[in-house]
């Protein structure tokens, strides 16, 4: 039976990406100029899926509002996972919405359509009960590692502590319709149902085929990873707006002043405006309705929707949330720094700053490398900030 319905798991917050996930789940964070999930949907539609079932939970309305009832003429049905009790539990919520064998993907990682096609084909041709995409990855220990014997999956283990693994589970699966019963029969661990636990049970019965894949597979674990994600997307030209010249993508409904400079690679989303003397790029991604004032410098930076950067400001190695307002003459000089998240310290990360949704920097604000500014924080004129700034904080000079 052919696989034509895809279930996309997009219910989890992605807590390690806080503070960017305050108002939306990880799949809705930007991969360059549009949400990660849009790239996932593209891969599925390009691979011929003709029905999408999206499991939503945390801040579900942001997913529903963005895509509405269809994406590229393919109907999208939404299923709610009210409590986030694991990926198996999430898939189980889609049971009533699926007839026939589902293709299942994680909604929070960039994948390519060739991988989806390979898994669907491998499953259709060989079965037996499940197929999953596997890839070589240098950091297998950070993800779900797998072991294959003659294409049969023999082991699947989440974040192994030993370094002997080199293949990872790419998070693209095809199952027969019996998967829902299998999940329901899987014992919960700590109250949760992980899809990998069910796959491990099927693997014990030699019912899972591993499909080796290559191509773009990008995951963002921490906020600064969104810079790498954007760079990868731009390098591969996975951009949905028209290309003006090599590596310069400007939406038809964006306005770029004749005296502004766009340095490749760079993407400018719809409704955005770039003023005279601004220098944007390389590796800059502007979402929709972004305003870059006169003489602003934006380099290796993701400016999400509705962001506004006023005249003379400099943003380097910066990730913003939506509706961020950076007043004139503010500077994020960028570079490497130790980033502190909670009690953990990540050494030598290249990060200018993370400015979460609706941060306001009045003007002449300077931000040290590695700073995380929480949502709706208000940095008053002349403030100098570093480290972690909590949600809604008022920072005076």
């Amino acid at each position: 039976m052919s696989v034509s319905t895809a279930v996309v798991l997009a219910a989890g917050e992605g807590t390690r990406l806080r503070p960017l996930t305050r108002n939306r789940p990880k799949p809705m964070l930007p991969a360059a100029n549009r949400p990660i999930l849009e790239h996932v949907f593209d891969a599925l539609v390009d691979a011929g899926m003709d029905e999408l079932v999206c499991v939503v939970g945390y801040k579900h309305d942001r997913v529903q509002d963005h895509f509405g009832p269809s994406y590229r003429d393919v109907p999208v049905q939404y299923v709610r996972q009210h409590k986030q009790l694991g990926s198996g539990h999430a898939l189980l919520q889609a049971r009533a919405a699926v007839d026939g064998p589902p293709l299942v993907v994680n909604g929070d990682r960039l994948i390519e359509s060739s991988m989806v096609e390979a898994v669907a084909e491998g499953f259709e041709r060989h079965g037996p009960r499940a197929a999953l995409a596997v890839m070589e990855h240098p950091d297998a220990g950070q993800y779900g590692a797998v072991v294959l014997e003659n294409d049969a999956l023999t082991e699947i283990i989440e974040k192994p502590t030993t370094g002997e693994y080199r293949l990872i589970n790419a998070g693209i699966y095809a199952f027969d319709a019996g998967i829902f019963d299998e999940i329901a029969d899987t014992p919960r661990s700590a109250g949760e149902l992980a899809l990998t636990d069910t796959i491990a049970r099927l693997a014990d019965r030699e019912q899972v085929r591993g499909i080796r894949c290559e191509g773009m597979w990008v995951d963002a674990t921490y906020p600064w990873d969104l810079l790498t994600v954007a760079r990868t997307v731009l390098a591969r030209g996975k951009v949905d707006v028209s290309q003006r010249e090599e590596g310069v993508w400007v939406h038809d409904d964006a306005r770029v002043h004749d005296d502004a400079t766009l340095r490749s690679p760079v993407v400018v989303g719809p409704d955005s405006e770039i003023g005279p003397g601004a220098v944007v790029g390389p590796d800059a991604a502007l979402g929709y309705n972004v305003t870059v004032g006169a003489n602003v410098t934006v380099e290796r930076t993701v400016l999400d929707a509705d962001a506004r950067v006023d005249a003379g400001s400099v943003l380097i190695d910066t990730v913003t949330g939506q509706d961020v307002d950076v007043g004139a003459g503010s500077v994020v000089p960028g570079g490497q720094a130790d980033v502190r998240v909670g009690n953990e310290v990540f050494e030598d990360q290249r990060l200018g700053a993370v400015l979460a949704d609706r941060v306001t920097a009045e003007g002449d604000v300077s931000v040290d490398p590695g700073t995380l500014v929480g949502p709706s924080a208000h940095l008053h004129t002349g403030a100098h900030v570093r480290g972690q700034i909590p949600d809604g904080a008022e920072v005076m000079r």
């Binding site: 509002d65 269809s70 003429d73 999208v76 709610r80 719809p270 405006e273 309705n289 929707a305 939506q322």
Partner: protein, 596 residues
């Protein structure tokens, strides 16, 4: 107010196509529904109730025929009963008619037909039509000629479709009520609105008043009522049919409230240049009006009241009128530009006001959401608000988009000093609305006051129409009494109604004279022990006198009205939801009111 569907060339599927089409037209009315299929026989099924009731009635039987018509009704003449449901039949049960509109001379026709021995089964104006056709057939006219003769006798507004036993054609005509033809390769459709057949085809012909169409499996023919051939152009519509799905929300209204950031972006797209401080509405040409009359109904009227203030601030004499009043007692128009604000572009009262203005030589402009609508076609100019289809009967996103569009219009035809600031404010609007959607505590307010009998809304200046709109939303979907007042007017009478059981919603943003005065009015209310909900950006000290606060971001004052209104939309929605109301289809109301 009703919806019509017709279909030819879908042998075997006719019934499914009709019922599906009716479900897409339910926003036009939903108190009774019916279908008639014709081939060698005429097969009719109709019932009081919603489309689901018709589906249930159809389960016991499955009418078939090569052509068919269907109708969903919103009562104007006679209560919603099985008898009053369309289609209506002649005495011999060989002619079936569906109709949207009001036949003004129906009483005279009915008397005449009754005297001649015709028996009427319903209270409707429509039923005269099949009997007139029956008479013409009896006099020897062929089917097409009989329908033409009957239509020629009607006065008033109508979109009519007719099928007959033994005739595999549909006859249709319109005057002052919408009717669209859908063209597919081997099938043809007729409907009051495009979504009814949009799942089958995107090619459409908009019929004009006084036109007559004959449709069968092989094609269509459009003529005048007298039979003169008319050349029609086929348009392509680009609506996504699935936009009519609820995308995971319980109600269209909530979905549409959430669609506002996107709708606003679409409204502004390509029309503003903030860095240059310019608005580009070149397709409207040079309007430069000396005066402006805005005509509208319901929510659109509130947008018109808001817009009148914008034009006045720019030094242009401007006034908003209720379209139904304007149509029958128009003021001196002079050389004013008359702007009709209508979501559907089919609102009969607004069309009537615009026609009255045209008759008096005025230039007219339609501000509408519906491309190809009657208002857009009849006016000298049309500006589209680009909100996308709105299905919920209570208007939400179209109000916000109307406000955004009217701001663009004001910027384009007036020269105000702060254009760049206003454009900047408008471009901040989608993000500001998203902030409300992310942070609103409206559900808590709804929980606190869901049992109140009465709600009052007050605001001043641009917040006055928001107070009116806040009250209208509350009325429409909660069925509770609600009134909006200009804040200063409260003490001139309505204050007598204010008690500890009447929550008062006060919209106060900024810290200017208007805000200070409104805060004064809030104190008057507070002194009467009424619970006060302040919708505020925190710039004034209104919070000191309020029991609850609904926060809005600090934005340009023109934009603040829209953002404040979103909070009130959410309060009305959540209150209605908790009260278990039929939110998308409130009782007695229809989406676009195509009768006067």
């Amino acid at each position: 107010m009703c919806g019509i569907i017709g279909c030819a060339g879908r042998d075997g599927e006719t019934l499914d196509v009709l019922v599906h089409g009716l479900s897409k037209l339910e926003y036009r009315g939903y108190d009774s529904a019916g279908v008639a299929l014709a081939g060698s026989d005429l097969d009719v099924c109709k019932t009081a109730g919603e489309i689901d009731d018709l589906r249930a009635a159809l389960e016991e039987r499955s009418p078939s025929g090569s052509v068919g018509i269907g109708h969903t009704r919103w009562s104007t003449h006679g209560p919603p009963t099985d008898e009053n449901a369309h289609p209506h039949l002649d005495c011999n049960r060989e002619v079936a008619v569906v109709h949207n509109g009001i036949i003004e001379n129906y009483q005279a026709l009915r008397d005449e037909l009754s005297t001649a021995g015709h028996e009427f089964r319903s209270d409707t104006d429509t039923e005269v039509v099949p009997h007139l056709i029956e008479d013409a057939l009896a006099d020897g006219a062929d089917p097409e000629e009989a329908v033409r003769e009957a239509i020629a006798r009607l006065e008033g507004s109508y979109a009519v479709s007719v099928v007959m036993s033994g005739v595999d054609r549909i006859f249709a005509a319109r005057n002052d009520s919408p009717l669209v033809l859908g063209i597919d390769d081997e099938a043809y459709y007729l409907a009051s609105d495009v979504p009814a057949f949009r799942d089958h085809t995107d090619r459409v012909i908009y019929l004009a008043d006084g036109e007559f169409a004959v449709v069968d499996a092989d094609g269509y023919r459009v003529t005048t009522l007298d039979g003169e051939p008319v050349e029609k152009t086929v348009d392509t519509v680009d609506w996504d049919p699935e936009e009519t799905g609820k995308s995971g929300y319980d109600h269209f209204m909530l979905k549409e409230i959430h669609e506002q950031p996107r709708a606003l972006r679409q409204c502004l797209r390509g029309r503003v240049d903030e860095l240059a401080g310019q608005v580009d509405l070149a397709d409207l040409g040079d309007l430069s009006p000396r005066g402006i009359h805005l005509v509208a109904c319901g929510t659109s009227y509130h947008a018109a009241v808001y817009a009148a203030q914008l034009f006045q601030q720019a030094g242009i004499p401007a006034q908003a009128f209720l379209a139904s009043e304007y149509a029958t007692s128009p003021p001196p128009i002079g050389d004013a530009l008359v702007i009709g604000v209508t979501q559907s572009g089919e609102t009969a009262d607004t069309l009537s006001a615009l026609r009255e203005a045209r008759k008096r030589g005025a230039r007219t402009l339609a501000v509408t959401n519906t491309v190809g609508s009657t208002a857009a076609r009849e006016c000298d100019h049309a500006m589209y608000i680009r909100a996308g289809p709105e299905i919920g009967v209570a208007a939400t996103k179209t109000f916000s988009s109307q406000i955004a569009a009217l701001n663009l219009l004001a910027l384009a035809i007036t020269s105000v000093g702060d254009a760049r600031e206003v454009i900047s404010g408008l471009r901040d609007l989608p993000g500001a609305v998203q902030e409300i959607l992310d942070t609103s505590t409206a559900r808590k307010i709804a929980e606190a006051y869901r049992d109140a009998e009465s709600y009052f809304f007050i605001g001043r200046g641009l917040h006055y129409p928001v107070a009116l709109e806040g009250a209208l939303k509350m009325k429409e979907i909660t069925y509770k009494h609600a009134e909006g007042f200009a804040a200063g007017e409260l003490k001139h009478g309505p204050l007598a109604l204010v008690t500890q059981d009447t929550p008062v919603f006060a919209i106060v943003t900024g810290d200017d004279e208007q805000a200070t005065k409104t805060v004064g009015n809030v104190k008057e209310v507070e002194a009467r022990d009424a619970p006060v909900v302040a919708v505020t950006d925190g710039a004034s000290d209104v919070e000191r006198y309020a029991d609850h606060v609904l926060e809005v971001p600090d934005t340009h004052r023109r934009v603040a009205a829209v953002v404040a209104n979103v909070q009130l939309q959410l309060v009305a929605y959540h209150t209605a939801d908790m009260l278990g109301r039929s939110i998308d289809k409130p009782r007695n109301l229809a989406k676009s009111v195509t009768v006067e």
